[in-house]
Amino acid sequence: MLDANFFTALLSLSLVKATPLVLGAMSGILCERSGIINIGIEGMMLMSAFAGFLGAVFSDSLWVGVLVGVLTGAVMGAFLALLSIRYKVDQIIGGTVINLLAVGITSYFAVIIIDNQSLSGIGVLPIIQIPLLADIPVIGPILFRNQPITFMMLILVFVLHVALFYTPWGLRTRAVGEHPRAADTVGIRVNRMRYLDTTLGGMMAGLAGAFITLESVGSFESGVMTNGRGFIALAVMVSGNWRPINALIIAYIFGVSDALGVRLQLGDVNQLATLLIVAGLGMLIGGALWALTKYLGRRDENKVPVTQIALAVAGLVMVLAPAIVEIPETNIPFQFLGLPPYILTIIIVAGLVGNVRPPAAEGKVYEKQ
């Protein structure tokens, strides 16, 4: 039955599903804004998930586990920087090496440490409910009733946005990624900046890893844990034009399509109608927001943002359709219900990539002479 309870449950699960994607995307943003391409996010997440889990089990405290995960991420980030800067390894190959080593090391030591001594997890981080705010009808449970790392993600998105665009460190990072020579001539140590930023990026991936084992699952499963989230995070970063807030919005869209796949499988809802309504809602809100920003942006030009308004109206029609016309019951096989996030990625990347702009000096080693 499509009631408020259904939507709150769906939208709050979407935020949970979006969390590792946003953290992964921010890891990519930090590394690439300073000029280092990082496709090893998947491996960093896996390694930190493993180390974090061990940290939590041996210290018997989840928070120590999270810390260990974040530090492992930092070490992996520094390793990528060392490979790219000092040893001039092609950064895409460096990322692949990190992914391969991560799978090998975590699987190998998982058997040795976890299985042989049959360690078992110590549960997951508790759900925190912010007293007053969580009682707001729909928005409350979604935004204010979550586990800690999800809250940290939301906070970090805004912290990174402000840091990148409003602080000296952010200005220097962007300069180093766009035109390293210019940064060098004003006395900024380009490679030191890149080491710092890539290590910070590694920490973000570390937090994403800690989320997987210490907040979402509670145990470590070798090999399949991250199953591709590192790469979807890359797609989120690219289509978000290397901006944290865009990354949050796009990752949330993924989250909704992913959660929808799980939810529709329970079968007690008219699948087609739900798909129509949720997609319609997305287009309605997205179109409206986009139109607003476009309109505010160019106050002087009185060009009405036609396309965005059309999008919003189309969304409205889709939302109301199930109430008006009878939508037939369907029984879509659950394998297909899992497809939307992947198809969505291709559409977004193909559609948006035309007008996204990567940091100019990305992937190139900076030589003094």
Binding site: E32, I37, I39, L83, R86, Y87, K88, V89, D90, Q91, I92, I93, G94, T96, V97, N99, L100, L101, V103, G104, I105, S107, Y108, F109, A110, V111, I112, S222, G228, F231, L234, A235, V238, P333, Q335, F336, G338, L339, Y342, I343, T345, I346, V349, A350, G351, V353, G354, V356, R357, P358, E362, G363, K364
Partner: protein, 374 residues
């Protein structure tokens, strides 16, 4: 000052570069095995016994040798597919999906059509290659048309292919063997099966011969045909390719099509040669290993064949190694990772073994920027 410009000196420098790269690869393998041994020892296993087990598992008995060769074949096909992609400046991570689509197309061609034996097998192989080619053409077209980076689109096509194929062999999926409770597809007709040279299980099917032909074909294609020249030019400098009149977009799509065809052919050979049907858990995890194989072979067909053999030996041998020494088989994945690390970062091992300064040409580089064409 005068410069001799005879052709011989040219060949010798080319050879010099080649032998250096082979030397670095061998060095990387030895160093990785030693470090792997250290890890085994540190975690309570016995490295000597482990590597003995690995060797016996791969070459111990006639049956083991067959298994090694059969395991190497898909690695070569997938490695060639990735290598062709790299040569064309494209990072094709979708090889696993293309391989599966190739398997399914070959399977359908194998049971839905009646043809005389030899021709039926060839037809099914062709269908497999075609399936892989079409499935790879999608990310290729998107890259050419919108600049969407192929690293992301190919990975997504992997997931889509896996999910759809998983549905097709699920309970009421179209390809399911009627009445079977297992997630298996119908059997390929005998006329489509690839003949086997031995009666062992796994059979040494003539797919092995096909893959050797494929290796020489890729070498001929890349270095001895105009299309190969165009692919390599677009890969190294798309702007210069456009200046020279090469249709860059068309070449990008063609590169992905050839890469997909090789992967599809690999999938077809596995179905027609090995099992005779398709089921879950078949050929899993080839995607990432094929990237390591391509890089290990520095994107050269013969290098890829050697790299694939190394992976094949490890895959076949790891079972016996685990049997004899209780060392988790994942040590092999670590060793593969280390080998790729040392091959990709010669500077790392250079001071250890007093190698000459690594020249610019030797760094394998494919870092293209993310967004639209730079």
């Amino acid at each position: 000052m005068t410069t001799e410009t005879d052709a011989s000196r040219g060949a010798e420098s080319k050879l010099g570069l080649f032998s250096r790269r082979v030397f670095i690869s061998i060095l990387s393998i030895v160093l990785s095995l030693v470090i792997g041994g250290a890890i085994i020892a540190l975690s309570g296993g016995d490295p000597i016994d482990g590597y003995l087990g690995l060797w016996r598992g791969a070459f111990g008995k006639e049956k083991a040798v067959v298994e090694t060769i059969v395991k190497t074949t898909p690695f070569i096909f997938a490695g060639l597919a990735v290598a062709v992609g790299f040569r064309g400046g494209l990072f094709n991570i979708g090889v696993e999906g293309q391989l599966f689509v190739g398997s399914i197309c070959a399977l359908i061609a194998g049971y839905a059509v009646e043809l005389p034996p030899g021709i039926h097998a060839a037809f099914a192989l062709l269908m497999g290659a075609l399936g892989g080619a079409v499935w790879a053409a999608i990310p290729g077209y998107l890259k050419a048309r919108t600049g969407a980076h192929e690293v992301i689109t190919t990975i997504m096509t992997n997931y889509i292919a896996l999910r759809v194929i998983n549905w097709s062999i699920s309970q009421n999926g179209p390809l399911r063997l009627p009445g079977s409770a297992l997630p298996e597809t119908r059997r390929v007709l005998d006329s489509a099966r690839l003949p086997s040279l031995t009666d062992t299980t796994p059979p040494l099917h003539i797919g092995v011969v096909i893959v050797i032909v494929a290796v020489f074909f890729v070498y001929w294609l890349l270095w001895r045909t105009p299309l190969g020249f165009e692919i390599r030019t677009v890969g190294l400098n798309p702007s210069a390719a456009r200046y020279a009149g090469i249709k860059v977009e068309r070449t990008i799509v063609l590169t992905m099509v050839i890469s997909g065809a090789l992967a599809g052919l690999g999938g077809a050979v596995q179905v027609l040669g090995l099992l005779g049907y398709f089921t879950t858990g078949f050929n899993v995890g080839l995607g990432f290993d094929s990237i390591a194989v391509a890089m290990l072979g520095s994107n050269h067909p013969f290098g890829v064949a050697a790299g694939a053999l190394l992976f094949g030996v490890m895959d076949a041998g790891m079972k016996t190694m685990q049997l004899r020494t209780q060392v988790p088989r994942d040590i092999v994945v670590i060793i593969q990772g280390l080998i790729l690390l040392f091959v990709a970062a010669p500077l790392l091992i250079q001071p250890l073994f007093r190698l000459r300064q690594v020249g610019e040409g030797e760094q394998v580089s494919i870092s293209a920027t993310w967004g639209g064409e730079g």
